[in-house]
């Protein structure tokens, strides 16, 4: 009788643990999903910022800024002096 009771107790405990584990996994799963969503939104924001950097550093933007705001003019190829790299 006692043995049976112990067995029953162990079974109940196992079932309880399995249930608890499942609940914990589900909770973690939900948390992971939420975090992943946050990550993907932040990644998208980051991507937009990178694209903005690319746009601002594009030759068109840089040339316009250099010529219109800074009053620069493009150098002629013969005006560029090339130095040999020191060996």
């Amino acid at each position: 009788m006692t043995k049976r009771l112990i067995l029953l107790f162990v079974l109940c405990l196992w079932a309880f643990m399995v249930t608890a584990l499942h609940i914990a996994i589900s909770r973690s799963g939900r948390a992971i999903t939420r975090l992943q969503q946050e990550v993907s939104v932040k990644e998208a924001r980051n991507q937009y910022l990178r694209l903005e950097i690319a746009r601002l550093s594009s030759p068109d933007t840089v040339t316009q800024f250099a010529t219109q705001k800074l009053g620069m003019i493009p150098a002629k190829p013969y005006e560029v002096i090339l130095l040999d790299k020191p060996k």
């Binding site: 999903t33 939104v41 998208a44 924001r45 694209l51 690319a54 190829p77 005006e79």
Partner: protein, 569 residues
């Protein structure tokens, strides 16, 4: 005494066994009904209940995969996808219309009247905004589970962004929001850039949240494509082409830059810009005088003429066949040397040299230079042009092919042929794709210089470079001169065929194809202006574009001047 087996009254009323059976029947009726019902449900309503359970427990989620990127040779992003969202409104579930409209107007920066107009036009569901950027998405997503968010639906979508605007768009092409490449590189490499989007089953919790598990982990297999295009070179080419378009208003304009030693396309621009329709590969035309280079190189290489020969100009009216006269109006000389034929762009000279070479030989050189066949650059819609078989050529045809009429070529064929001359007679395989970066990080290098064949001898190529240099120094290509650098090239002004047959005197294709610096050519550049509204010539309209492109490229790549005695000032 009670005797067993005897009945006290009516056997129908007091028979216990019978009563028990009846009671049992009643008791069993309910379970039997349930069992029967369960059997029915299991057997006949199986599908209905399975789908209900599926809906209750699982969410079908789209795998969220971004399309691969397209880069220039230096890793500048030319096209990439960003994740955006669209906002749909289900009017039936909106609790407070005024509050919702105010909120959406504030977040989306949209006037309430515009929202209300869309609201009134739809019966129940409508998309209020598309391509919602992350900042706004966060604000919208934050109210999704509150009463304010009821009736709002945010669904993910993709937007293809081109950080450099329209630059190189005719090569890159377009893709749609479903990740499908529609034209250009996007279509040619759709398999590498995209991945099948399948749905995955995910367990859901109360409120619709997805419960993450390992099976949801994505396996990314998209690749990134690196072109041989240099975005900065492309910018200079597009800017120069735009200037030419403003000056002479052509119907169509094309500029291509190639590295002769490797065959790499460094830049290719078309006007008007259409997604994935690069005229550098798709346009076919009669080249006119730029083709004289090919005819004369063939004649020199085959030994039909020598560089020191002079050609009789037949009084500047050469009757090729009865009733077919070729005229030179641009000079009054009785004899022209080969460099002079090129400098003055003499049709009589080029035609006579072509006839002297002979149809068969000329045809075999034209084919060896790559005309009449696709270049294998693999760009969608690439044309192979048209070079008729030599056995159909008459004397008039042979002469006409000598000065670039009667055959159709593509810009990529012509620039590759000029690059062969720049490259000491070696024809290289032109290419547009530098490398593919696969999802596992493996780099597949595609930009290896591939030698197709030695078309003309090295000595012939060097002689031709000198002849072409003389065209820029003393002939029709003067406006392509660049201070400090030796430039070689040839102008072209070809009359266009009319629909009625014959050539239109006022409709031209003007062009210039050249190389710089002559001592060690780094760039071959071709400019084509199709049917300029303003009456003009290759030397006046296209040659200056060569200069506008070559100058910044020489600066950009740090190519030292090859003229030794030029004045810096």
């Amino acid at each position: 005494m009670i005797r067993r087996g005897t009945t006290f009254s009516s056997p129908n009323v007091f028979n216990i066994k019978r009563r028990m059976k009846i009671a049992l029947l009643f008791v069993m009726l309910a379970p039997l009904t349930i069992i029967g019902r369960l059997f029915y449900m299991q057997t006949f309503l199986h599908q209905e209940f399975t789908s209900k359970t599926e809906k209750a427990i699982y969410n079908a989620i789209n795998e969220d995969r971004l399309r691969g990127k397209i880069f220039d040779v230096n890793g500048r992003s030319l096209a990439e996808s960003v994740r955006t969202h669209s906002l749909g409104i289900n009017k039936r579930y909106i609790k407070d219309k005024t509050k919702t409209v105010d909120f959406l107007s504030d977040v989306l920066k949209m006037p309430p009247a515009e929202i209300l107009s869309k609201w009134d036009k739809s019966r129940n569901f409508f998309f209020l905004a598309k391509k919602i950027k992350p900042d706004k998405y966060i604000q919208l997503a934050s109210v999704m589970r509150s009463p304010l968010g009821q009736g709002m639906e945010l669904s993910p979508e993709y937007e293809r962004i081109h950080p450099y605007g329209q630059s190189a768009l005719d090569i890159i092409g377009a893709s749609n929001s479903k990740n499908l490449g529609l034209s250009g590189i996007e279509q040619m490499f759709n398999k590498e850039l995209s991945q099948d989007i399948s749905k995955k089953r995910a367990k859901r919790a109360r409120g619709g949240d997805v419960i993450y598990d390992r099976s949801l982990k994505e396996k990314v297999s998209v690749s990134n494509i690196y072109l041989t295009i240099d975005e900065i070179a492309q910018y200079y080419v597009e800017k120069a082409l735009q200037k030419a378009v403003e000056n002479v208003a052509p119907e169509r304009a094309i500029a291509v830059v190639q590295e002769p030693a490797s065959g790499k396309i460094l830049a290719a621009a078309s006007y008007p810009v259409k997604d994935g329709q690069s005229q550098a590969f798709q346009f076919t035309y009669e080249p006119g005088s730029t083709f004289k280079t090919i005819a004369i190189a063939s004649a020199l290489d085959s030994g039909s003429v020598r560089i020191t020969d002079s050609i009789d100009m037949s009084g500047r009216n050469w009757e090729v066949a009865k009733g077919v006269i070729v005229r030179d109006k641009q000079h009054n000389k009785e004899y022209l040397s080969i460099p002079e034929i090129m400098q003055l762009s003499s049709n009589i000279g080029a035609g006579k040299i072509a006839v002297e070479t002979g149809a068969k030989k000329l045809f075999s050189y034209i084919k060896a230079f790559g005309f009449g066949t696709k270049t294998d650059i693999n760009f969608n819609g690439e044309s192979k042009g048209n070079v008729p078989p030599y056995n159909t050529w008459t004397k008039v045809d042979t002469a006409a092919h000598g000065y670039g009429y009667g055959i159709a070529i593509t810009p990529i064929q012509l620039i590759t042929a000029y690059s062969a001359i720049a490259n000491d007679g070696v024809l290289m395989q032109p290419h547009l794709i530098d490398r593919i970066e696969h999802a596992n990080g493996k780099i597949e290098k595609l930009s290896k210089p591939i030698k197709i064949r030695q078309v003309i001898k090295k000595e012939t190529a060097q002689a031709m470079k000198k002849v072409l240099q003389s065209v820029v120094e003393h002939g029709s290509g003067k406006r392509a001169q660049i201070k400090g650098y030796n430039v070689a090239g040839k102008t072209g002004t070809a009359e266009k065929l009319t629909k009625e047959g014959g050539y239109a005197k006022r409709n031209h294709v003007v062009s210039f194809c050249g190389m710089v610096p002559v001592s060690n050519p780094q760039f071959t550049i071709l400019i084509i202006l199709d049917n300029p509204a303003k009456y003009t010539f290759g030397g006046t309209a296209a040659a200056p574009v060569f200069k506008d492109i070559a100058e910044p490229l020489l600066t950009l790549k740090g190519i030292a001047p090859d003229q030794v005695d030029f004045d810096f000032n």
